[in-house]
């Protein structure tokens, strides 16, 4: 058996935060019927400048894209985009979120982590046409909406998906808050197994 030396402990102590940090940023992907959904408890976006704006009584709009690709940095073969309008109740000190997508769901009296989780929970990308044993990657992208990108995002019926996809196909602006998380490679067959075991367990 390999001896545990002082050097090993030293490396482990320095390496642990890095390893934990990597694992903490990972997306948790699960199958929900014919959709993939994600959770990322360590993924925080109600921080920094967006949070400052919210606490100044303004609304902040976040654009999200959840996509599937068959290569780690490859083009998306499936994607779902959405838009969330967040505001902060100055007296109750709680967050409210409104989704601009098809559901137009709305929620209030949430803590910041609950509001973030609510947004991610409303993201789902369909798996139709995805081969069960073909590896794929799931990418979550989030940006605070820039005022210059607002034109054409909303139309009479709701959000303009083409316009949102176009925004995500361009690089984010220098001052724009953005974040990205990737999970993979994974297979649909493995996710189905996990889903079954979770239901039976």
């Amino acid at each position: 058996m390999q001896q545990v030396t002082r050097r090993w402990w030293l490396m482990a102590s320095f390496g642990a935060p890095f390893t934990l940090g990597l694992s903490a940023s990972a997306l948790r992907v699960r199958l929900d019927g014919d959709d993939l959904r994600v959770a990322a408890p360590q993924f925080r976006f109600l921080t920094g400048m967006p949070l400052e704006k919210l606490k100044d009584g303004a609304t902040v709009v976040f654009l999200t894209q959840l996509s599937i690709s068959t290569e780690v940095n490859g083009p998306a073969i499936k994607r779902a985009v959405d838009r969330f309008v967040v505001s902060y109740d100055l007296w109750e000190e709680k967050f409210s979120v409104m989704e601009n997508g098809a559901d137009r769901a709305r929620v209030s009296h949430l803590s910041s982590t609950a509001a973030e989780a609510w947004c991610l929970d409303h993201l789902a990308v369909g798996i139709g046409g995805l081969a069960p044993d073909k590896p794929f990657w799931v990418r979550l992208e989030l940006r605070a909406e820039d005022a210059r990108d607002q034109a054409g995002v909303l139309d009479g019926t709701g959000i303009n998906l083409t316009r949102l996809i176009e925004i995500f196909s361009n690089p984010a602006r220098a001052q724009q808050m953005r974040s990205e998380q990737v999970a993979g490679p994974m297979r649909l067959s493995d996710l189905k197994k996990e889903s079954r075991s979770a239901r039976s367990g």
Binding site: G57, A58, T59, D89, L90, W91, M98
Partner: protein, 445 residues
């Protein structure tokens, strides 16, 4: 009785302008360049029209009542009466982010600032909020601006570009300029400026200007110079150093004073360096008078004096007086303005001090080299502008002369399209015989 302004059909107006141009026997090439400039100007304006977004966003604080709206000192002192009234109307109402955004846009437009920040804070009473509006601006920033750019069909292109570093109350500006519009000469070169906008107090400012130019002269000026020995000769280069302080005497009244040291290399009769060093002072009055309703009146008046004296080691001794007044009244989309100017030079002043008429701002439609290629030491001018929405019509009248000459009063009329700082205009001199119109296109002129 309701009197409604008669709408002006832009297409027919443009067509009439083009027909008029055609009637004035302009060459085909110039005619087509005019048409393309007009079309591109209108397209440029059209392209800037962003559709307004519907206030679809929800803000959870909309359920709270606005207790107060605090304005920063810069906003408080400079906004119009009408805008202030609209701001006050929001107090006591539920918070309306769309209305606040609209007010911020109007403040930006009135104050010509880049951005206005909004903060909504808890009020002193439960379920009430207070709004704080301020002009956004970092303590340190960098700004690039175009103080002037104009194409004049007889004088060519004139323009300047400046970069400014703002460090607290200090501003350091450097830029390039090539201007064949203002003076009898075309001066091309660099300009730099240091300005402290708060010397101990908000009421005192200090500025130091430096400029170095290379001059070009029109053939009309050169031939006129040979016939008139009373006007000093031309120069190839010119440098200008000018320290100046400004004191806010009372709210609408400011006094500037300082010195201006100009040195220039003359070419005739011999190549040598001469200087025109002057004490300078300007008294300026600016006031915005706001009536009830939508009326808005502005009054600006100034008197400036430049006194070059041997005591400042100047090769020239002269005094240059300049009086200017401008009054404008705006009601809805209608604006009428009148601007008057008078100038007088006593003594022999170098060419850059002499007055000119027949450029892009004074006696528009006339060619300054036809009027007085050397400029004049006496000038009077008046300009009346009427503007409806973006259509501008104007009537200029003025005279320029030297002692011993008769003052001949000349007139011109013009029409233009103005949107913000952009303007395309055509001006016609009123005179017997063939009148060639002059086209002007540009910004901030």
């Amino acid at each position: 009785m309701n009197i409604r302004p008669r709408p002006i059909a832009l297409k027919s107006l443009t067509a009439k302008v083009i027909l008029l141009w055609h009637g004035c026997c302009i060459s085909h090439a110039m005619k087509y360049s005019l048409i393309s400039l007009l079309v591109s100007g209108i397209s440029l304006w059209g392209g800037n029209q962003q559709p307004l977004l519907e206030p679809t966003e929800f803000n959870v604080n909309s359920k709270y009542t606005v207790e107060s709206i605090e304005l920063s000192r810069e906003i408080e002192t400079r906004i119009s009466h009408g805008l202030r009234q609209d701001i006050e109307r929001l107090i006591g109402e539920k918070l309306n982010p769309a209305a606040l955004n609209d007010l911020s846009r109007r403040i930006r437009s009135e104050l010509h600032v880049r951005d206005v920040t909004q903060k909504v804070l808890r009020g002193n009473v439960p379920d009430h909020v207070k709004v704080v509006l301020d002009v956004a601006g970092r303590k340190n920033e960098w700004d690039l601006s175009v103080p002037k750019i104009v194409y004049h069909s007889t004088q060519g292109l004139s323009g300047a570009v400046e970069g400014t570093a703002i460090l607290g109350s200090n501003r350091i500006t450097a830029g390039l300029v090539s201007d064949g519009d203002d003076l009898a000469e075309r001066y091309t070169g660099i300009r730099a400026r240091y300005e402290n906008r708060r010397v101990g107090s908000d009421r005192v400012r200090f500025r130091f200007n430096f400029a170095s130019y290379h001059e070009q002269w029109n053939s009309s000026t050169l031939s006129a110079l040979g016939k008139d020995a009373s006007v000093p000769g031309i120069y190839r280069t010119r440098q200008d150093f000018s320290p100046e302080a400004t004191i806010l005497l009372a709210k609408p009244l400011t006094l500037s004073f300082g010195a201006d040291f100009q040195s220039f290399d003359t070419q005739f009769p011999a190549s040598r360096t001469q200087s025109a060093n002057a004490a300078i002072t300007t008294l300026r009055y600016e006031r915005r008078i706001e009536g009830w309703g939508a009326d808005q009146q502005e009054l600006e008046a100034s008197y400036s004096l430049r006194a070059a004296t041997k005591a400042l080691n100047s090769d020239f001794a002269y005094t240059r007086h300049r009086w200017q007044a401008r009054y404008s009244i705006t009601r809805g989309k209608h604006t009428v303005s009148d601007e008057a100017l008078a100038g007088l030079i006593i003594g022999q002043a170098p060419l850059f001090e002499r007055f000119t008429l027949g450029n892009s701002t004074l006696l528009r439609g006339w060619n300054k080299y036809d009027l007085d290629p050397l400029g004049g030491s006496r000038v009077v001018h008046n300009s009346v502008d009427y503007r409806y929405s973006m259509v501008d019509v104007f009537y200029d009248t003025g005279a320029i002369w030297d002692p011993g000459q008769d003052a001949v009063v000349r007139h011109s009329v013009g029409v233009g399209i103005r949107k913000g700082s952009f303007m395309v205009a055509m001006a016609f001199p009123i005179k017997g015989g063939r009148a060639s119109p002059i086209l002007m296109v540009g910004m901030n002129y």
